[in-house]
């Protein structure tokens, strides 16, 4: 399918529906009963970006090539475009695919407030989630109660309204992005602060704590702190160099600022950085422990391989492993101990049967494979429109068994398996079974195939 961009209507400017003030101003505390939820300064920006996206094919939205995105994904991409924030912390915008997960995330995200539907304003995010495998809904409220969301044929549209959505869908919820929450500062917070009181620097044992008051230590500490801060600032390139005489030490204001800065929810980048740091720390600890153990003449205690390591082993991802895998003998060259499935099936008394658990799982799983929108055939037709692919019809398959090595079944005493025939198919030892076998032989298989008759009552091979 070719990318399509329809002519988008000129976006209308969104009127800022809040009065004034900073984006985060005075929004940190919850609202009391009867009060309206605070308006968001980000709202108009989000709504404006949503309107600018109207008419775009979802394929044109950065980060994806698929033309039929999920509602949640479109909202996520628009939100990130408007705010430069991930709508779900730690999740790439294009990976926000589930409306139910998005709803759960927003409910627990301090950057968002759930607001009553009656208070909908531009930029609010409207969500419906009805659970697994149900089609949820997500959109962004723009002006005049209209909603921008993914439309049919993968085009972002603004042709639905709050009223319409509320009347046609259940369990709707409205979320407002109120931004990073900051801790309010209190004028009396400085009470009792003495600039001359020394504190230990951050990064040292007891860092940030007031010292016992030993002047010598304190002065030395303060000097080193000052030096390091100056160095840090120089490195940061902010061009600020503190005057020696006005060296502020660890001013409480500065600490408070830092505390406030540290208080915000981590951005995706920060979260990744934290994760990386934690991982590096764990690795370093492991190395130190291993070396200590080696020094004591002990074998370092190793944890069992993680699931990733096991999977990597299974798939041979490293070049050496990959090479090993590539050089591995084909199934037909397997060593004699690995006999063909035919023998295995003979021993186990015929074809595989299913218990209730696996039958239920099969029925449920089958819905993931049918030729319906969103499943493999649909996806591939969409992704590779110029390629002719043949989809194997469910229920169609090859022969039941293939001899892949070991003693050929024809070599067994009293075997009626024909030499040189490597395929076999189980069929009931009835007239119908023979008929079906001959039909399959004519229409389904190209390889010579041995009929493997079994007693339909006992399942035993004959």
């Amino acid at each position: 399918m070719k990318s399509s961009i329809t002519s988008s209507p000129a976006p209308r400017a969104i009127k800022a529906s809040h009065s004034s003030g900073q984006p985060n101003g005075a929004q940190g505390t919850g609202t009391h009963a009867g009060e309206k939820e605070p308006l968001s300064a980000y709202g108009p920006q989000i709504a404006q970006t949503a309107l600018l996206s109207v008419g775009l094919s979802t394929r044109d939205l950065k980060g994806t090539r698929m033309s039929t995105l999920e509602y949640a994904e479109v909202v996520s991409i628009i939100f990130t475009k408007a705010t430069n924030q991930a709508i779900m912390l730690g999740t790439e915008p294009r990976h926000v695919l589930s409306t139910s997960l998005l709803r759960t995330s927003l409910l627990h995200d301090k950057r968002f407030r759930q607001v009553p539907m009656s208070e909908a304003t531009p930029g609010d995010i409207i969500l419906e989630s009805t659970g697994y495998q149900a089609s949820g809904y997500a959109g962004i409220v723009v002006d005049h109660g209209r909603i921008v969301s993914m439309g049919r044929a993968g085009i972002v549209q603004d042709n639905s309204s709050l009223l319409e959505i509320q009347s046609t869908r259940q369990s709707m919820a409205l979320f407002r992005y109120v931004g990073v929450q900051r801790r309010p500062t209190y004028p009396l917070a400085n009470a009792g602060y003495n600039d001359n009181e020394p504190r230990l620097p951050k990064g040292q044992p007891g860092g940030g704590q007031w010292t016992s008051g030993s002047l010598g230590i304190a002065r030395g500490t303060r000097q080193s702190v000052y030096d390091s801060r100056k160095k840090a600032r120089h490195c940061a390139g902010d061009g600020i160099v503190d005057d020696e005489d006005s060296e502020p030490g660890f001013r409480e204001e500065k600490d408070k600022e830092r505390a406030v800065d540290n208080f915000h929810e981590p951005t995706q980048l920060e979260q990744e950085q934290r994760d990386n740091d934690a991982q590096a720390e764990r690795k370093a600890k492991q190395i130190i422990e291993d070396r200590a153990a080696e020094a004591k003449g002990q074998t370092p205690a190793r944890k069992p391989p993680s699931i990733f390591e096991r999977i990597r082993q299974a798939f041979g991802l490293s070049p050496e492993e990959q090479q090993k895998k590539d050089n591995a003998p084909e199934p037909s060259q397997q060593k004699p101990t690995e006999r063909s499935n035919v023998n295995a099936d003979r021993k186990s008394g015929g074809r595989g049967s299913a218990n209730e658990n696996t039958k239920n799982a099969s029925v449920k799983g089958s819905s993931l494979h049918s030729d319906k929108p969103g499943n493999l055939p649909d996806q591939l037709r969409d992704m590779y429109p110029d390629t002719n692919l043949k989809f194997t019809k469910p229920g169609t398959r090859g022969q039941d068994v293939k001899v892949v090595g070991g003693t050929h079944p024809s070599e067994y005493p009293d075997s009626n398996w024909e030499p040189g025939v490597d395929h076999g198919d189980f069929k009931p030892d009835t007239r119908g079974g023979t008929k079906a076998f001959n039909r399959d032989k004519q229409t389904k298989w190209v390889e010579p195939t041995q009929k493997l008759p079994y007693d339909p009552n006992t399942g035993k091979l004959k």
């Binding site: 994806t64 698929m66 039929t68 995105l69 949640a72 994904e73 990976h95 589930s98 659970g131 697994y132 495998q133 990733f308 096991r310 999977i311 299974a314 798939f315 991802l317 990959q322 895998k325 199934p331 397997q334 499935n341 295995a344 074809r351 595989g352 049967s353 299913a354 218990n355 658990n357 696996t358 039958k359 799982a361 099969s362 029925v363 799983g365 089958s366 993931l368 494979h369 049918s370 929108p373 969103g374 499943n375 996806q379 591939l380 992704m383 110029d386 390629t387 002719n388 692919l389 043949k390 989809f391 194997t392 469910p394 229920g395 169609t396 398959r397 090859g398 039941d400 068994v401 293939k402």
Partner: protein, 143 residues
């Protein structure tokens, strides 16, 4: 011991406990399905064979995209235990948990042909079966 099955252009080699139960499932459209007699889940295969036209040259990134798209449309949630293999057989895999189920999804390709493989079982019942399935998927070949 191993069994080998052909499903369309897909050649699947599976350890003996995994058996073809396709015909025992009473469902109108059942894909090729493997399960263990004493198992809890079903491993199912869909295959697309390149016939003609522009060679799709399916990349690992494409497979990732297909899987993410699939998981999104099925509301499977976020993936975990993801795996990627960029060898002769390119594989993008990931596990998902819904309120009821554990689902592991693989998209595989040799560059031209594509297969979707899923393993589904009740949430918390997966045990070691996903490990078996990883090995089966790794051994898949296109004929």
């Amino acid at each position: 011991m191993k069994n080998q099955y052909t499903y369309g252009n897909l050649i699947v080699t599976a350890p003996t406990p995994w058996k073809d139960i396709t015909e025992s499932v009473k469902e109108a459209e059942v894909p090729f399905t493997l399960a263990k007699d004493d198992g809890t889940g079903a491993l199912q295969f869909s295959a697309a064979k390149y016939v003609s036209g522009k060679h799709p040259n399916v990349t690992l990134q494409d497979l990732d995209e297909l899987r993410n798209d699939f998981a999104g449309k099925k509301e499977l949630g976020s993936a975990f235990d993801e795996l990627h293999s960029d060898g002769n057989l390119r594989v993008s895999g990931g596990s998902y948990r819904t309120t009821e189920d554990y689902v592991r999804v693989w998209y595989c390709s040799d560059g031209n042909n594509v297969a979707l493989i899923t393993y589904l079982t009740g949430r918390g019942k997966e045990g070691n079966e996903p490990d078996d399935c990883d090995a089966i998927v790794a051994a898949v070949r296109f004929g």
